[in-house]
Protein backbone atom coordinates (compact mmCIF):
# COMPACT_ATOMS: atom_id res chain seq x y z
CA UNK A 1 0.00 0.00 0.00
CA UNK A 2 1.30 3.44 -0.85
CA UNK A 3 2.11 5.83 1.93
CA UNK A 4 -0.64 8.30 2.84
CA UNK A 5 0.04 11.89 1.76
CA UNK A 6 0.03 13.96 4.94
CA UNK A 7 -0.23 17.71 5.49
CA UNK A 8 0.79 19.35 8.79
CA UNK A 9 -0.98 22.37 10.25
CA UNK A 10 0.50 23.77 13.44
CA UNK A 11 1.61 27.25 14.37
CA UNK A 12 4.63 26.02 16.28
CA UNK A 13 7.70 25.22 14.23
CA UNK A 14 9.11 23.04 17.03
CA UNK A 15 6.03 20.85 17.12
CA UNK A 16 5.96 20.57 13.34
CA UNK A 17 9.58 19.53 13.12
CA UNK A 18 9.07 17.07 15.98
CA UNK A 19 6.15 15.46 14.22
CA UNK A 20 8.04 15.48 10.93
CA UNK A 21 10.93 13.57 12.45
CA UNK A 22 8.63 11.03 14.01
CA UNK A 23 6.47 10.21 11.02
CA UNK A 24 8.42 11.17 7.90
CA UNK A 25 9.78 7.69 7.29
CA UNK A 26 6.33 6.17 7.33
CA UNK A 27 4.21 8.70 5.49
CA UNK A 28 4.63 11.13 2.61
CA UNK A 29 4.56 14.68 3.97
CA UNK A 30 3.31 16.89 1.16
CA UNK A 31 3.33 20.21 2.93
CA UNK A 32 2.82 22.18 6.08
CA UNK A 33 1.36 25.50 7.18
CA UNK A 34 1.61 27.62 10.28
CA UNK A 35 -1.52 29.73 9.90
CA UNK A 36 -5.15 29.30 9.00
CA UNK A 37 -5.25 31.08 5.63
CA UNK A 38 -2.13 29.46 4.24
CA UNK A 39 -3.36 26.08 5.45
CA UNK A 40 -6.70 26.42 3.65
CA UNK A 41 -5.04 27.47 0.40
CA UNK A 42 -2.34 24.79 0.42
CA UNK A 43 -4.66 21.97 1.46
CA UNK A 44 -7.09 22.79 -1.34
CA UNK A 45 -4.18 22.98 -3.77
CA UNK A 46 -2.41 19.76 -2.79
CA UNK A 47 -5.39 17.67 -1.67
CA UNK A 48 -3.54 15.47 0.87
CA UNK A 49 -5.06 12.26 2.18
CA UNK A 50 -4.76 13.23 5.83
CA UNK A 51 -4.36 16.62 7.48
CA UNK A 52 -2.83 16.70 10.95
CA UNK A 53 -4.63 19.67 12.40
CA UNK A 54 -3.70 21.70 15.46
CA UNK A 55 -6.83 22.63 17.38
CA UNK A 56 -5.43 25.82 18.89
CA UNK A 57 -4.14 28.44 16.48
CA UNK A 58 -4.65 32.16 16.06
CA UNK A 59 -7.48 33.31 13.75
CA UNK A 60 -10.00 30.60 14.47
CA UNK A 61 -7.76 27.57 14.93
CA UNK A 62 -8.32 24.15 13.46
CA UNK A 63 -12.05 24.71 13.38
CA UNK A 64 -11.66 27.52 10.81
CA UNK A 65 -9.51 25.34 8.56
CA UNK A 66 -11.99 22.47 8.81
CA UNK A 67 -15.01 24.59 8.06
CA UNK A 68 -13.32 26.14 5.02
CA UNK A 69 -11.82 22.99 3.53
CA UNK A 70 -14.32 20.25 4.34
CA UNK A 71 -17.12 21.42 1.98
CA UNK A 72 -14.70 21.90 -0.96
CA UNK A 73 -12.57 18.82 -0.54
CA UNK A 74 -14.63 15.98 0.95
CA UNK A 75 -11.86 13.44 0.34
CA UNK A 76 -9.40 15.17 2.65
CA UNK A 77 -9.53 13.61 6.10
CA UNK A 78 -8.61 15.41 9.27
CA UNK A 79 -6.97 14.17 12.44
CA UNK A 80 -7.05 16.72 15.24
CA UNK A 81 -3.88 17.08 17.26
CA UNK A 82 -3.76 19.17 20.39
CA UNK A 83 -2.43 19.72 23.86
CA UNK A 84 -5.77 21.14 24.82
CA UNK A 85 -7.70 19.95 27.81
CA UNK A 86 -10.80 21.91 26.86
CA UNK A 87 -13.53 19.44 25.98
CA UNK A 88 -15.53 21.98 24.01
CA UNK A 89 -12.73 22.78 21.57
CA UNK A 90 -12.05 19.15 20.88
CA UNK A 91 -15.70 18.21 20.51
CA UNK A 92 -16.22 21.21 18.21
CA UNK A 93 -13.46 20.07 15.88
CA UNK A 94 -14.75 16.51 15.83
CA UNK A 95 -18.28 17.65 15.17
CA UNK A 96 -17.05 19.86 12.34
CA UNK A 97 -15.68 16.77 10.63
CA UNK A 98 -12.38 15.65 12.11
CA UNK A 99 -12.01 11.87 12.00
CA UNK A 100 -10.31 11.67 15.34
CA UNK A 101 -8.37 13.38 18.06
CA UNK A 102 -5.03 12.58 19.62
CA UNK A 103 -2.91 14.51 22.10
CA UNK A 104 0.48 15.84 21.08
CA UNK A 105 2.37 13.65 23.56
CA UNK A 106 1.24 10.57 21.63
CA UNK A 107 4.07 8.16 20.78
CA UNK A 108 5.40 8.40 17.24
CA UNK A 109 4.35 4.88 16.33
CA UNK A 110 0.87 5.45 17.67
CA UNK A 111 0.59 8.65 15.65
CA UNK A 112 1.60 6.84 12.45
CA UNK A 113 -0.91 4.16 13.30
CA UNK A 114 -3.62 6.79 13.79
CA UNK A 115 -2.78 8.44 10.46
CA UNK A 116 -3.11 5.12 8.64
CA UNK A 117 -6.39 4.46 10.39
CA UNK A 118 -7.83 7.81 9.37
CA UNK A 119 -6.49 7.27 5.86
CA UNK A 120 -8.38 3.98 5.72
CA UNK A 121 -11.59 5.73 6.67
CA UNK A 122 -11.58 4.65 10.28
CA UNK A 123 -12.05 6.81 13.30
CA UNK A 124 -9.39 7.45 15.91
CA UNK A 125 -10.70 7.78 19.41
CA UNK A 126 -8.08 8.44 22.03
CA UNK A 127 -9.11 7.65 25.62
CA UNK A 128 -9.47 11.34 26.29
CA UNK A 129 -11.75 11.91 23.31
CA UNK A 130 -13.87 8.96 24.38
CA UNK A 131 -14.18 10.60 27.79
CA UNK A 132 -15.16 13.93 26.25
CA UNK A 133 -17.79 12.26 24.08
CA UNK A 134 -19.23 10.28 26.98
CA UNK A 135 -19.38 13.49 28.96
CA UNK A 136 -21.12 15.28 26.12
CA UNK A 137 -23.80 12.60 25.86
CA UNK A 138 -24.03 12.04 29.58
CA UNK A 139 -27.04 13.01 31.64
CA UNK A 140 -25.04 13.50 34.80
CA UNK A 141 -22.17 15.51 33.37
CA UNK A 142 -21.15 18.71 35.08
CA UNK A 143 -22.37 21.10 32.38
CA UNK A 144 -25.55 20.92 30.33
CA UNK A 145 -25.27 17.83 28.15
CA UNK A 146 -25.25 17.96 24.39
CA UNK A 147 -28.50 16.03 24.24
CA UNK A 148 -30.41 18.54 26.34
CA UNK A 149 -29.43 21.38 23.98
CA UNK A 150 -29.75 19.43 20.76
CA UNK A 151 -33.02 17.48 20.61
CA UNK A 152 -32.08 16.00 17.21
CA UNK A 153 -29.06 14.30 18.67
CA UNK A 154 -29.41 10.53 18.61
CA UNK A 155 -28.61 8.98 21.93
CA UNK A 156 -25.80 6.48 22.11
CA UNK A 157 -26.80 2.86 22.17
CA UNK A 158 -25.75 0.85 25.23
CA UNK A 159 -23.25 -1.00 23.05
CA UNK A 160 -21.70 2.24 21.81
CA UNK A 161 -21.40 3.42 25.39
CA UNK A 162 -19.69 0.17 26.32
CA UNK A 163 -17.21 0.59 23.51
CA UNK A 164 -16.46 4.21 24.42
CA UNK A 165 -16.01 3.30 28.08
CA UNK A 166 -13.50 0.63 27.23
CA UNK A 167 -11.58 3.03 25.03
CA UNK A 168 -11.58 5.58 27.84
CA UNK A 169 -10.24 2.86 30.13
CA UNK A 170 -7.24 2.55 27.86
CA UNK A 171 -8.28 -0.41 25.69
CA UNK A 172 -7.14 -0.40 22.11
CA UNK A 173 -9.64 -1.60 19.48
CA UNK A 174 -8.27 -5.16 19.54
CA UNK A 175 -8.71 -5.37 23.31
CA UNK A 176 -12.19 -3.87 23.08
CA UNK A 177 -13.14 -6.50 20.52
CA UNK A 178 -11.82 -9.30 22.72
CA UNK A 179 -13.46 -7.91 25.84
CA UNK A 180 -16.90 -7.62 24.21
CA UNK A 181 -16.41 -10.77 22.15
CA UNK A 182 -17.04 -9.00 18.88
CA UNK A 183 -14.85 -8.44 15.82
CA UNK A 184 -12.54 -5.46 15.40
CA UNK A 185 -14.63 -4.43 12.40
CA UNK A 186 -17.70 -4.23 14.63
CA UNK A 187 -15.80 -2.06 17.12
CA UNK A 188 -14.83 0.24 14.29
CA UNK A 189 -18.40 0.48 13.05
CA UNK A 190 -19.62 1.38 16.55
CA UNK A 191 -17.05 4.12 16.83
CA UNK A 192 -17.89 5.44 13.36
CA UNK A 193 -21.53 5.52 14.26
CA UNK A 194 -20.78 7.56 17.40
CA UNK A 195 -18.87 10.01 15.25
CA UNK A 196 -21.76 10.22 12.76
CA UNK A 197 -24.20 10.99 15.54
CA UNK A 198 -21.96 13.79 16.75
CA UNK A 199 -21.56 15.27 13.30
CA UNK A 200 -25.21 15.03 12.25
CA UNK A 201 -26.59 17.66 14.57
CA UNK A 202 -26.39 21.18 13.35
CA UNK A 203 -23.51 23.51 13.91
CA UNK A 204 -25.77 26.18 15.37
CA UNK A 205 -26.74 23.94 18.22
CA UNK A 206 -23.15 23.00 18.71
CA UNK A 207 -22.15 26.60 19.27
CA UNK A 208 -24.96 27.00 21.77
CA UNK A 209 -23.80 23.99 23.62
CA UNK A 210 -20.20 25.08 23.66
CA UNK A 211 -20.99 28.56 24.90
CA UNK A 212 -23.35 27.32 27.59
CA UNK A 213 -20.82 24.90 28.87
CA UNK A 214 -18.20 27.59 28.95
CA UNK A 215 -20.49 29.69 31.15
CA UNK A 216 -20.60 26.96 33.73
Amino acid sequence: MSQPRVFLVDDHELIRSGIRTEISSHVDIVGEADEVDAAIELILEREPDVVLLDVHMPDGGGLAVLCAVAPCAPDVRFLALSVSDAADDVISVVRAGARGYVTKNILGTDLVDAIYRVHDGDVVFSPRLAGFVLDAFSETSTGPSLSSIDPDLDQLTPRERQVLRLIARGYIYRDVARELDISIKTVESHVSSVLRKLQLSTRHQLTNWASERRLN
Partner: protein, 405 residues
Protein backbone atom coordinates in the same frame (compact mmCIF):
# COMPACT_ATOMS: atom_id res chain seq x y z
CA UNK B 1 23.79 87.07 31.01
CA UNK B 2 21.63 84.64 29.04
CA UNK B 3 18.20 83.21 29.68
CA UNK B 4 18.38 79.54 30.60
CA UNK B 5 16.98 77.04 28.07
CA UNK B 6 17.21 73.94 30.23
CA UNK B 7 16.13 75.26 33.63
CA UNK B 8 13.33 77.41 32.24
CA UNK B 9 9.88 77.29 33.80
CA UNK B 10 8.47 80.00 31.51
CA UNK B 11 11.04 82.28 29.90
CA UNK B 12 14.17 81.11 31.65
CA UNK B 13 14.79 84.60 33.13
CA UNK B 14 14.96 83.55 36.78
CA UNK B 15 17.17 80.56 36.06
CA UNK B 16 19.48 82.72 33.96
CA UNK B 17 19.62 85.40 36.64
CA UNK B 18 20.40 82.81 39.30
CA UNK B 19 23.35 81.52 37.26
CA UNK B 20 24.58 85.09 36.65
CA UNK B 21 24.37 86.03 40.35
CA UNK B 22 25.47 82.68 41.66
CA UNK B 23 22.51 82.23 43.97
CA UNK B 24 19.85 79.54 44.22
CA UNK B 25 17.13 79.63 41.55
CA UNK B 26 14.45 79.28 44.20
CA UNK B 27 15.39 82.61 45.86
CA UNK B 28 15.34 84.47 42.54
CA UNK B 29 11.92 83.04 41.77
CA UNK B 30 10.56 84.01 45.18
CA UNK B 31 11.91 87.57 44.96
CA UNK B 32 10.54 88.09 41.43
CA UNK B 33 7.15 86.66 42.42
CA UNK B 34 6.89 88.83 45.51
CA UNK B 35 7.96 91.97 43.64
CA UNK B 36 5.04 91.38 41.23
CA UNK B 37 2.78 92.33 44.13
CA UNK B 38 4.38 95.82 44.36
CA UNK B 39 2.72 97.57 41.44
CA UNK B 40 3.75 94.77 39.13
CA UNK B 41 7.45 95.66 39.24
CA UNK B 42 8.49 92.00 39.09
CA UNK B 43 6.28 91.37 36.10
CA UNK B 44 7.67 94.42 34.31
CA UNK B 45 11.26 93.41 34.98
CA UNK B 46 10.61 89.86 33.98
CA UNK B 47 8.97 90.71 30.66
CA UNK B 48 11.70 93.26 29.84
CA UNK B 49 14.39 90.69 30.51
CA UNK B 50 12.52 88.15 28.44
CA UNK B 51 12.41 90.53 25.51
CA UNK B 52 15.92 91.94 25.77
CA UNK B 53 18.13 89.09 26.98
CA UNK B 54 19.03 86.43 24.40
CA UNK B 55 18.29 82.82 25.16
CA UNK B 56 21.24 80.56 25.96
CA UNK B 57 22.76 79.30 22.73
CA UNK B 58 21.12 82.04 20.62
CA UNK B 59 22.92 85.18 19.48
CA UNK B 60 19.95 87.58 19.28
CA UNK B 61 17.30 88.53 21.81
CA UNK B 62 13.56 88.39 21.14
CA UNK B 63 13.48 92.18 20.68
CA UNK B 64 16.39 92.16 18.24
CA UNK B 65 14.74 89.48 16.20
CA UNK B 66 11.45 91.40 16.15
CA UNK B 67 13.08 94.59 14.93
CA UNK B 68 14.58 92.65 12.06
CA UNK B 69 11.15 91.39 10.94
CA UNK B 70 8.69 93.96 9.57
CA UNK B 71 5.49 91.98 9.69
CA UNK B 72 5.93 90.82 13.27
CA UNK B 73 6.85 94.28 14.55
CA UNK B 74 3.66 95.64 12.97
CA UNK B 75 1.62 93.07 14.83
CA UNK B 76 3.27 94.06 18.10
CA UNK B 77 2.54 97.74 17.48
CA UNK B 78 -1.11 96.96 16.80
CA UNK B 79 -1.28 94.87 19.94
CA UNK B 80 0.21 97.71 21.95
CA UNK B 81 -2.35 100.13 20.48
CA UNK B 82 -5.28 97.80 21.24
CA UNK B 83 -4.00 97.37 24.78
CA UNK B 84 -3.71 101.12 25.36
CA UNK B 85 -7.22 101.75 24.06
CA UNK B 86 -8.55 98.94 26.16
CA UNK B 87 -6.80 100.34 29.24
CA UNK B 88 -8.12 103.83 28.72
CA UNK B 89 -11.64 102.71 27.87
CA UNK B 90 -11.90 100.22 30.69
CA UNK B 91 -9.75 102.29 33.05
CA UNK B 92 -12.20 102.60 35.86
CA UNK B 93 -13.46 99.08 35.59
CA UNK B 94 -10.00 97.64 35.31
CA UNK B 95 -8.74 99.53 38.37
CA UNK B 96 -11.74 98.40 40.24
CA UNK B 97 -11.04 94.83 39.27
CA UNK B 98 -7.30 94.39 39.51
CA UNK B 99 -6.23 97.63 41.11
CA UNK B 100 -2.81 99.10 40.45
CA UNK B 101 -1.58 95.97 38.73
CA UNK B 102 -3.77 96.44 35.66
CA UNK B 103 -1.17 98.43 33.72
CA UNK B 104 1.65 95.94 34.18
CA UNK B 105 -0.75 93.08 33.48
CA UNK B 106 -1.81 94.49 30.14
CA UNK B 107 1.71 95.46 29.20
CA UNK B 108 2.79 91.94 30.07
CA UNK B 109 0.14 90.57 27.74
CA UNK B 110 1.55 92.69 24.94
CA UNK B 111 5.04 91.53 25.82
CA UNK B 112 3.85 87.94 25.71
CA UNK B 113 2.48 88.50 22.23
CA UNK B 114 5.83 89.98 21.28
CA UNK B 115 7.70 87.05 22.76
CA UNK B 116 5.52 84.61 20.90
CA UNK B 117 6.20 86.19 17.55
CA UNK B 118 9.85 86.92 18.23
CA UNK B 119 10.80 83.62 19.76
CA UNK B 120 13.01 81.09 18.00
CA UNK B 121 11.43 77.85 16.85
CA UNK B 122 13.04 76.01 19.73
CA UNK B 123 11.74 78.44 22.35
CA UNK B 124 8.30 78.45 20.78
CA UNK B 125 7.99 74.69 21.14
CA UNK B 126 9.08 75.06 24.75
CA UNK B 127 6.37 77.69 25.26
CA UNK B 128 3.83 75.40 23.63
CA UNK B 129 4.71 72.77 26.20
CA UNK B 130 4.34 75.31 29.01
CA UNK B 131 0.93 76.34 27.69
CA UNK B 132 -0.17 72.72 27.39
CA UNK B 133 0.83 72.11 30.97
CA UNK B 134 -1.14 75.02 32.46
CA UNK B 135 -4.55 74.20 33.86
CA UNK B 136 -6.97 76.32 31.88
CA UNK B 137 -5.16 77.09 28.64
CA UNK B 138 -3.41 73.80 28.19
CA UNK B 139 -6.19 71.30 28.11
CA UNK B 140 -8.13 73.40 25.62
CA UNK B 141 -5.29 74.29 23.29
CA UNK B 142 -4.80 70.58 22.89
CA UNK B 143 -8.40 70.45 21.69
CA UNK B 144 -8.37 73.57 19.52
CA UNK B 145 -8.81 77.26 20.11
CA UNK B 146 -12.52 77.29 19.35
CA UNK B 147 -13.13 75.10 22.39
CA UNK B 148 -11.00 77.45 24.49
CA UNK B 149 -13.05 80.51 23.47
CA UNK B 150 -16.32 78.70 24.13
CA UNK B 151 -15.13 77.92 27.61
CA UNK B 152 -13.14 81.02 28.47
CA UNK B 153 -15.79 83.60 27.55
CA UNK B 154 -18.73 82.27 29.60
CA UNK B 155 -16.36 81.20 32.36
CA UNK B 156 -14.78 84.64 32.75
CA UNK B 157 -18.13 86.42 32.38
CA UNK B 158 -19.59 84.29 35.14
CA UNK B 159 -16.56 84.93 37.34
CA UNK B 160 -16.91 88.72 36.87
CA UNK B 161 -20.64 88.54 37.49
CA UNK B 162 -20.04 86.54 40.65
CA UNK B 163 -17.35 88.91 41.91
CA UNK B 164 -19.36 92.08 41.28
CA UNK B 165 -22.51 90.61 42.79
CA UNK B 166 -20.61 89.61 45.88
CA UNK B 167 -19.04 93.06 46.11
CA UNK B 168 -22.50 94.59 46.23
CA UNK B 169 -23.10 92.63 49.41
CA UNK B 170 -21.21 95.21 51.34
CA UNK B 171 -23.35 98.03 49.91
CA UNK B 172 -26.97 99.08 50.28
CA UNK B 173 -28.56 96.08 48.60
CA UNK B 174 -27.11 93.45 50.89
CA UNK B 175 -29.21 90.27 50.85
CA UNK B 176 -29.31 86.54 50.56
CA UNK B 177 -30.36 86.65 46.91
CA UNK B 178 -27.15 88.35 45.82
CA UNK B 179 -25.06 86.08 47.92
CA UNK B 180 -26.57 82.97 46.36
CA UNK B 181 -26.41 84.29 42.80
CA UNK B 182 -22.87 85.55 43.28
CA UNK B 183 -21.55 82.39 44.84
CA UNK B 184 -23.38 80.27 42.28
CA UNK B 185 -21.99 82.25 39.35
CA UNK B 186 -18.52 82.10 40.85
CA UNK B 187 -18.67 78.36 41.35
CA UNK B 188 -20.11 77.79 37.89
CA UNK B 189 -17.45 79.98 36.30
CA UNK B 190 -14.69 78.22 38.12
CA UNK B 191 -16.15 74.86 37.19
CA UNK B 192 -16.36 75.76 33.50
CA UNK B 193 -12.83 77.07 33.48
CA UNK B 194 -11.31 74.22 35.41
CA UNK B 195 -13.44 71.29 34.29
CA UNK B 196 -11.20 70.06 31.45
CA UNK B 197 -8.16 70.26 33.63
CA UNK B 198 -9.87 68.34 36.37
CA UNK B 199 -11.19 65.78 33.87
CA UNK B 200 -7.68 65.31 32.56
CA UNK B 201 -6.45 64.61 36.05
CA UNK B 202 -9.20 62.06 36.61
CA UNK B 203 -8.46 60.47 33.24
CA UNK B 204 -4.77 60.34 34.02
CA UNK B 205 -5.50 58.72 37.34
CA UNK B 206 -7.64 55.98 35.85
CA UNK B 207 -5.11 55.41 33.08
CA UNK B 208 -2.45 55.13 35.73
CA UNK B 209 -4.56 52.66 37.65
CA UNK B 210 -5.11 50.52 34.57
CA UNK B 211 -1.44 50.65 33.85
CA UNK B 212 -0.68 49.54 37.38
CA UNK B 213 -3.10 46.61 37.15
CA UNK B 214 -1.47 45.55 33.90
CA UNK B 215 1.97 45.77 35.45
CA UNK B 216 0.83 43.73 38.43
CA UNK B 217 -0.72 41.09 36.18
CA UNK B 218 2.50 40.89 34.25
CA UNK B 219 4.54 40.64 37.42
CA UNK B 220 2.33 37.77 38.53
CA UNK B 221 2.78 36.01 35.20
CA UNK B 222 6.52 36.54 35.27
CA UNK B 223 6.68 35.21 38.81
CA UNK B 224 4.70 32.14 37.86
CA UNK B 225 6.67 31.41 34.72
CA UNK B 226 9.88 31.92 36.63
CA UNK B 227 8.92 29.71 39.56
CA UNK B 228 7.64 26.94 37.39
CA UNK B 229 8.80 26.89 33.80
CA UNK B 230 12.23 28.48 34.14
CA UNK B 231 13.10 26.45 37.20
CA UNK B 232 12.08 23.27 35.45
CA UNK B 233 14.07 24.15 32.35
CA UNK B 234 17.13 24.65 34.53
CA UNK B 235 16.52 21.30 36.20
CA UNK B 236 16.11 19.67 32.80
CA UNK B 237 19.40 21.14 31.64
CA UNK B 238 21.12 19.68 34.68
CA UNK B 239 19.44 16.31 34.23
CA UNK B 240 20.27 16.09 30.53
CA UNK B 241 22.20 12.86 31.03
CA UNK B 242 19.26 11.08 32.61
CA UNK B 243 16.37 10.70 30.15
CA UNK B 244 14.04 9.38 32.82
CA UNK B 245 14.47 12.49 34.92
CA UNK B 246 13.98 14.75 31.93
CA UNK B 247 10.73 13.03 31.04
CA UNK B 248 9.53 13.17 34.63
CA UNK B 249 10.33 16.86 34.95
CA UNK B 250 8.81 17.75 31.63
CA UNK B 251 5.64 15.82 32.39
CA UNK B 252 5.23 17.36 35.81
CA UNK B 253 5.77 20.84 34.44
CA UNK B 254 3.44 20.26 31.53
CA UNK B 255 0.68 19.15 33.86
CA UNK B 256 1.17 22.07 36.21
CA UNK B 257 1.19 24.60 33.40
CA UNK B 258 -1.81 23.00 31.78
CA UNK B 259 -3.74 23.20 35.02
CA UNK B 260 -2.77 26.81 35.48
CA UNK B 261 -3.86 27.68 31.95
CA UNK B 262 -7.00 25.67 31.51
CA UNK B 263 -8.38 24.96 34.97
CA UNK B 264 -7.14 27.62 37.38
CA UNK B 265 -9.87 26.87 39.89
CA UNK B 266 -8.49 23.37 40.40
CA UNK B 267 -5.09 24.70 41.32
CA UNK B 268 -6.48 26.45 44.34
CA UNK B 269 -8.39 23.39 45.45
CA UNK B 270 -5.80 20.76 44.70
CA UNK B 271 -4.35 20.69 48.20
CA UNK B 272 -7.74 20.11 49.67
CA UNK B 273 -8.19 16.41 50.38
CA UNK B 274 -11.95 16.84 50.36
CA UNK B 275 -11.98 17.95 46.72
CA UNK B 276 -14.29 16.42 44.16
CA UNK B 277 -13.60 13.01 42.68
CA UNK B 278 -12.01 14.51 39.57
CA UNK B 279 -9.72 16.74 41.64
CA UNK B 280 -8.60 13.83 43.81
CA UNK B 281 -7.94 11.69 40.75
CA UNK B 282 -5.87 14.50 39.22
CA UNK B 283 -3.86 14.60 42.40
CA UNK B 284 -3.17 10.88 42.08
CA UNK B 285 -2.21 11.34 38.43
CA UNK B 286 0.40 13.95 39.24
CA UNK B 287 1.76 12.19 42.32
CA UNK B 288 2.21 8.87 40.56
CA UNK B 289 3.76 10.50 37.51
CA UNK B 290 6.19 12.45 39.64
CA UNK B 291 7.20 9.63 41.93
CA UNK B 292 7.38 6.73 39.51
CA UNK B 293 8.15 8.40 36.20
CA UNK B 294 5.32 6.75 34.31
CA UNK B 295 2.73 8.48 32.17
CA UNK B 296 -0.77 8.36 33.58
CA UNK B 297 -3.59 8.77 31.10
CA UNK B 298 -6.48 10.07 33.17
CA UNK B 299 -10.02 10.34 31.83
CA UNK B 300 -12.89 11.41 34.05
CA UNK B 301 -16.52 11.50 32.98
CA UNK B 302 -18.81 13.43 35.28
CA UNK B 303 -17.86 14.48 38.78
CA UNK B 304 -19.17 14.33 42.33
CA UNK B 305 -18.23 15.94 45.64
CA UNK B 306 -15.91 14.05 47.93
CA UNK B 307 -17.01 12.20 51.08
CA UNK B 308 -15.77 9.24 53.10
CA UNK B 309 -16.71 6.77 50.38
CA UNK B 310 -15.05 8.80 47.63
CA UNK B 311 -11.99 9.10 49.84
CA UNK B 312 -11.86 5.28 50.21
CA UNK B 313 -12.33 4.92 46.47
CA UNK B 314 -9.52 7.31 45.62
CA UNK B 315 -7.22 5.76 48.24
CA UNK B 316 -7.76 2.38 46.60
CA UNK B 317 -7.20 3.99 43.19
CA UNK B 318 -3.92 5.44 44.38
CA UNK B 319 -2.80 2.04 45.65
CA UNK B 320 -3.73 0.37 42.38
CA UNK B 321 -1.98 3.03 40.32
CA UNK B 322 1.18 2.78 42.41
CA UNK B 323 1.12 -1.02 42.06
CA UNK B 324 0.84 -0.69 38.32
CA UNK B 325 3.64 1.87 38.18
CA UNK B 326 5.91 -0.28 40.33
CA UNK B 327 5.30 -3.79 39.06
CA UNK B 328 3.88 -3.68 35.56
CA UNK B 329 7.07 -2.42 33.87
CA UNK B 330 5.24 -0.19 31.42
CA UNK B 331 5.62 3.49 30.62
CA UNK B 332 1.93 4.24 30.55
CA UNK B 333 -1.06 3.40 32.74
CA UNK B 334 -4.67 4.41 32.33
CA UNK B 335 -7.09 5.64 34.97
CA UNK B 336 -10.71 6.07 34.06
CA UNK B 337 -13.30 7.46 36.47
CA UNK B 338 -16.98 7.70 35.75
CA UNK B 339 -19.81 9.07 37.85
CA UNK B 340 -23.24 7.70 37.08
CA UNK B 341 -26.47 8.51 38.86
CA UNK B 342 -26.15 5.79 41.49
CA UNK B 343 -22.65 4.54 41.07
CA UNK B 344 -19.04 5.69 40.81
CA UNK B 345 -16.46 3.52 39.15
CA UNK B 346 -12.74 3.83 38.65
CA UNK B 347 -10.64 1.60 36.43
CA UNK B 348 -6.88 1.41 36.70
CA UNK B 349 -5.33 -0.41 33.81
CA UNK B 350 -1.90 -1.26 32.51
CA UNK B 351 -0.73 -3.47 29.67
CA UNK B 352 2.28 -4.72 31.57
CA UNK B 353 3.58 -8.04 32.80
CA UNK B 354 0.50 -8.99 34.80
CA UNK B 355 0.33 -11.63 37.52
CA UNK B 356 -1.83 -14.44 38.73
CA UNK B 357 -4.33 -12.90 41.17
CA UNK B 358 -4.86 -16.25 42.88
CA UNK B 359 -1.23 -16.51 43.85
CA UNK B 360 -0.31 -13.15 45.22
CA UNK B 361 2.89 -13.22 47.21
CA UNK B 362 2.40 -12.58 50.91
CA UNK B 363 4.64 -9.54 50.89
CA UNK B 364 2.31 -7.73 48.59
CA UNK B 365 -0.34 -6.68 51.06
CA UNK B 366 -1.30 -3.76 48.87
CA UNK B 367 -3.89 -5.57 46.91
CA UNK B 368 -5.72 -7.29 49.73
CA UNK B 369 -5.64 -4.67 52.43
CA UNK B 370 -5.40 -1.40 50.62
CA UNK B 371 -7.71 -2.16 47.77
CA UNK B 372 -10.16 -4.99 48.34
CA UNK B 373 -10.76 -4.57 52.07
CA UNK B 374 -10.81 -0.80 51.97
CA UNK B 375 -13.47 -0.86 49.26
CA UNK B 376 -15.49 -3.52 51.06
CA UNK B 377 -15.50 -1.60 54.33
CA UNK B 378 -17.27 1.28 52.58
CA UNK B 379 -19.76 -0.89 50.76
CA UNK B 380 -17.81 -0.89 47.53
CA UNK B 381 -16.34 -3.59 45.39
CA UNK B 382 -12.96 -4.25 43.84
CA UNK B 383 -12.30 -6.71 41.07
CA UNK B 384 -8.79 -7.44 39.88
CA UNK B 385 -8.31 -8.91 36.47
CA UNK B 386 -4.88 -9.98 35.50
CA UNK B 387 -2.97 -12.77 33.88
CA UNK B 388 0.77 -13.16 33.48
CA UNK B 389 1.88 -11.32 30.37
CA UNK B 390 -1.51 -9.83 29.76
CA UNK B 391 -1.67 -6.65 31.81
CA UNK B 392 -3.75 -5.83 34.85
CA UNK B 393 -6.97 -3.97 35.40
CA UNK B 394 -8.32 -3.03 38.81
CA UNK B 395 -12.01 -2.26 38.69
CA UNK B 396 -13.37 -0.28 41.63
CA UNK B 397 -16.98 0.63 42.11
CA UNK B 398 -18.83 2.36 44.89
CA UNK B 399 -22.55 2.84 45.25
CA UNK B 400 -23.65 6.42 45.77
CA UNK B 401 -27.03 5.53 47.29
CA UNK B 402 -27.53 4.43 50.89
CA UNK B 403 -25.83 5.61 54.04
CA UNK B 404 -22.05 5.91 53.91
CA UNK B 405 -20.36 3.32 56.08
Amino acid sequence: MTRSSTGAVVGGVCAGLAVRLGVRELWVRIIVSVSVLFFGIGLFVYMSAWLLVPRWGEDRSVAQRLIGARRESHIILWALLVALIALLALGDFAKHWTGAASWPVLLAVVALVAVWFGASRDERSHLQDVVNATPILGASSARGWRALVWRLVPGILLLILGLTTLQKLGGISAGAFHAVVGAGALALGAAILLAPWWLDIVRDLSRERRERVRVEERAKLVAHVHDSVLQTLTLIEKAATSPADVVRLARAQERELRQWLFAPEHVAQREDASGTLAQQLRGIESDVECEYGVTVELVVVGDCPGDARIAALTAATREAAINAAKWAHVARISIYGEVETTNVSVFVRDTGVGFDPDHVADDRHGINQSIIERMASHGGRAVIRSAPGDGTEVQLSMSLSGVPA
